[in-house]
């Protein structure tokens, strides 16, 4: 027997304002998708009575689904077996108990679409606000539920497949919901207090949690206090869940909340510290942090042989981007790399990833890291909204050459002239090592352009000739022919001065436009052409990312400049940069 569900009911029930009783009084035909027993927390006002069992149901109108609690008066319906899964009740929602629809969740994410009548209740992830109708047609606010239940704006918890449920406002906490998570800052932490009285002794400490909606006090006793005391710090933000919600002991606290949190053994407190990607440079190398971002790119699975253990470790790189306009690479290892198969443009929150300085800034999962795909938190929604509207088009800055102690990238903002570099003494102890500059090649020393290197994978060690073959000490192998790699000494100059720099294979390849092997071949074959090649290479300008280092030999201390990266000039980019500079306040 097919019933017709009243589509739009769920929507109406959720969006109708509190005093629009017509919505609540009208009959709705909904299907119960799931009925779950929830053990109620202590109902205040009825001491010495076991808390009633409560039933949480999921209602579908075919288009949306929402969650609702069943009034205790109606529990008997469940017990009598009248309301079972997929049962379509005729008499309706008047039956439901009510938690007053408070604010809709901030985001207004579209409510997930319920399936059709034979639906599964999986994926009920979004919070629905609970629909209202008193058991009597009285207006919602003064529903005739037992006086013990205050009307509190709250949200039904999402499905708890994930480790984090949706975030509640502190105001929404009550003993009736025990599946909540709040995100709040510790605004105050007391000292550890000890007491002893006839009943025994113990210790405790208090904290005050605050979020946009209000504050609540939390107390931890004895062993729990010992654990949590160092973990909770004033000023920091945490996700707290699974604490007990008790009636406040007004004697001990002066906060306005009726409730307080009892922090127990099972209470979970997670530190939240999402760093915007642009701020990663502030975090020192090897530091840990949490990030959340949109996965823009996923590389394919590759593997690295660990030098230490000689084992092959699979790895996969993700490129994360976020609102700050920066992108960063994050590496997954082992099982996580293999098992990763989320689609593009998911949002993932990473906790406890290590910050490295490869290529500017990079992130790496360690054993203690955790990741959550499309987590149910505010930042995720913000990111989703930003990404869908502009993020996909924005081009991102990858972290590159930051102040002093890092890396390889080329930074326009930090362009130095050669004279600058010399005057500032780059490379001396206490001075920054890395700098970017733009210079033109004046001369290349042609006597020592390359060295024979080991052709083995990942090995660049010099090989020595032994008769007909070349032997590599590190790999312990012999090869018929080496792979020559560039090592060149060049004189470069710009408007301010000149300097000698050293470049390796990549520099040579770019400057000459051919591999070292090829160049050597030309040299042996035709001296004239070789000179021509050399000649063509000079007087070309490049953007250089360099490293300055101090070398001492024979009592002489010199600063040597080595090229880490060499980039050809992209006039368009450079011109754009200059144009920006002219438009900027600097030019006023």
């Amino acid at each position: 027997m097919a019933f017709q569900l009243s589509t739009g009911s769920c929507e109406k029930l959720q969006t109708a304002p509190q005093n629009d009783t017509s919505v609540y009084e009208a009959p709705h035909t909904l299907q119960f998708l799931s009925v779950k027993k929830v053990h109620g927390a202590t109902a205040s006002g009825t001491p010495n009575q076991p808390p009633p069992d409560r039933y949480r149901i999921i209602l579908s109108d075919g288009v949306h689904f929402i969650q609702a609690m069943l009034a205790t008066q109606l529990n008997h319906l469940i017990l009598d077996g009248q309301l079972q899964r997929n049962y379509v009740p005729c008499r309706l929602i008047i039956v439901l108990d009510l938690k007053v629809l408070g604010s809709m969740e901030k985001l207004g994410e579209p409510i997930q679409f319920g399936a059709s009548e034979e639906s599964t209740s999986g994926g009920a992830d979004r919070q629905g606000s609970l629909p209202g109708a008193g058991p009597t047609p009285a207006p919602v606010a003064s529903s005739s539920t037992p006086a013990a239940k205050p009307a509190v704006p709250s949200r039904a918890p999402g499905a708890t497949q994930r480790s984090r449920t949706s975030v509640y406002p502190i105001e929404g906490l009550s003993p009736y919901q025990n599946n909540w998570t709040i995100k709040a800052r510790v605004t105050q932490k007391s000292e550890m207090k000890h007491w002893s009285n006839q009943r025994g002794e113990g210790k405790l400490f208090n904290v005050t949690f605050m979020d946009d909606s209000g504050e609540i006090r939390g107390t931890a006793f004895n062993m729990v206090a010992d654990d949590l005391y160092p973990q909770l710090q004033e000023g920091k933000v945490y996700y707290v869940s699974k604490a007990r919600v008790n009636l406040a002991k007004k004697k001990f606290s002066n906060l306005t909340n009726d409730y307080e949190l009892g922090l127990e053994k099972g209470t979970e407190i997670e530190e939240y510290n999402f760093v915007p990607l642009s701020g990663l440079e502030q975090i020192a190398k090897d530091g840990m942090c949490d990030v959340i971002g949109v996965v823009k790119e996923v590389s394919s699975l590759s593997s690295i042989t660990s030098k230490a253990t000689q084992k092959e470790i699979p790895k996969r790189e993700l490129t994360l981007v976020d609102k700050s306009g920066f992108s960063v690479r994050l590496t997954l290892w082992g099982k996580q790399a293999e098992g990763y198969d989320a689609e593009e443009n998911v949002i993932i929150a990473f906790k406890g990833v290590r910050v490295g300085d490869f290529g500017g800034r990079s992130l790496s999962m360690v054993s203690t890291s955790s990741m959550q795909i499309n987590p149910d938190i505010q930042e995720c929604y913000d990111l989703r909204g930003w990404y869908d509207s502009q993020g996909a088009q924005t081009s991102f800055h990858a972290h590159s050459n930051m102040n002093a102690a890092t890396s390889f990238g080329f930074r326009h903002e930090e362009l130095r002239s050669l004279d600058d570099v010399k005057q500032a003494g780059y490379g001396m102890p206490d001075r920054p090592e890395y700098f970017s500059t733009r210079a033109t090649i004046m001369h290349i020393k042609s006597d020592n352009l390359s060295y024979p290197a080991c052709p083995g994978p990942n090995c660049q060690k010099k090989v020595t000739e032994q008769g007909d073959s070349w032997r590599c000490e590190k790999c312990d192998k012999s090869y018929p022919a080496p792979e020559h790699r560039y090592i060149m000494s060049m004189s470069v100059a710009d408007h301010s001065g000149q300097a000698w720099v050293q470049g390796f294979n990549d520099v040579g390849t770019m400057v000459f436009g051919m591999t070292a092997n090829e160049l050597l071949e030309i040299k042996e074959r035709d001296e004239g052409q070789f000179n021509l090649v050399l000649h063509k290479a000079i007087c070309s300008t490049y953007n250089l990312s360099c490293r300055a280092k101090q070398d001492t030999f024979n009592e002489q201390t010199r600063i040597r400049y080595g090229i880490s990266r060499i980039y050809p000039i992209n006039y368009r980019e450079e011109a754009n940069y200059l144009k920006d500079l002219l438009y900027s306040p600097w030019s006023r």
Partner: protein, 118 residues
């Protein structure tokens, strides 16, 4: 004014033409189409999007530039017409937005004549 000033040919975009009527300017532009009847004039789009008619030199041979982007040096007849004196090919790829921004910067009183030569 000095004789030197009469020889200048600053780069402009379509919007600036009215201010330079009777003077020689350079217009960096993109070729749109030829006016096939006369084979002497053709339409171009300036860096700010405005369309201009260029009157080519009458050499008896049709004017067929190889490149899409051109820099036309000529005398401004009116707000939408330039009489060409010379033409430079700029290739097939040019960032017109960058060109336009640069043209605007050139004429900025802070820079005109000081930083940007004529």
């Amino acid at each position: 004014m000095s004789a030197l000033e009469r020889e200048i040919s600053p780069r402009v975009n379509a919007e600036m033409l009215p201010k330079w009527i009777g003077k020689t300017v350079r217009l960096t532009c993109k070729l749109l189409n030829f006016d096939s009847e006369s084979e002497r004039s053709f339409r171009v789009e300036a860096s700010d999007g405005g369309q201009v008619v260029i009157q080519a030199i009458n050499t008896g041979e049709p004017f067929r530039p190889d490149d899409i982007y051109l820099e036309v040096i000529g005398k401004v007849i009116d707000a939408t017409t330039i009489s060409m004196l010379g033409c430079i090919g700029m290739g097939n790829e040019l960032d017109m937005k960058l060109v336009n921004d640069t043209v605007i910067l050139i004429h900025d009183p802070r820079f005109f004549g000081k930083m940007f030569s004529y």
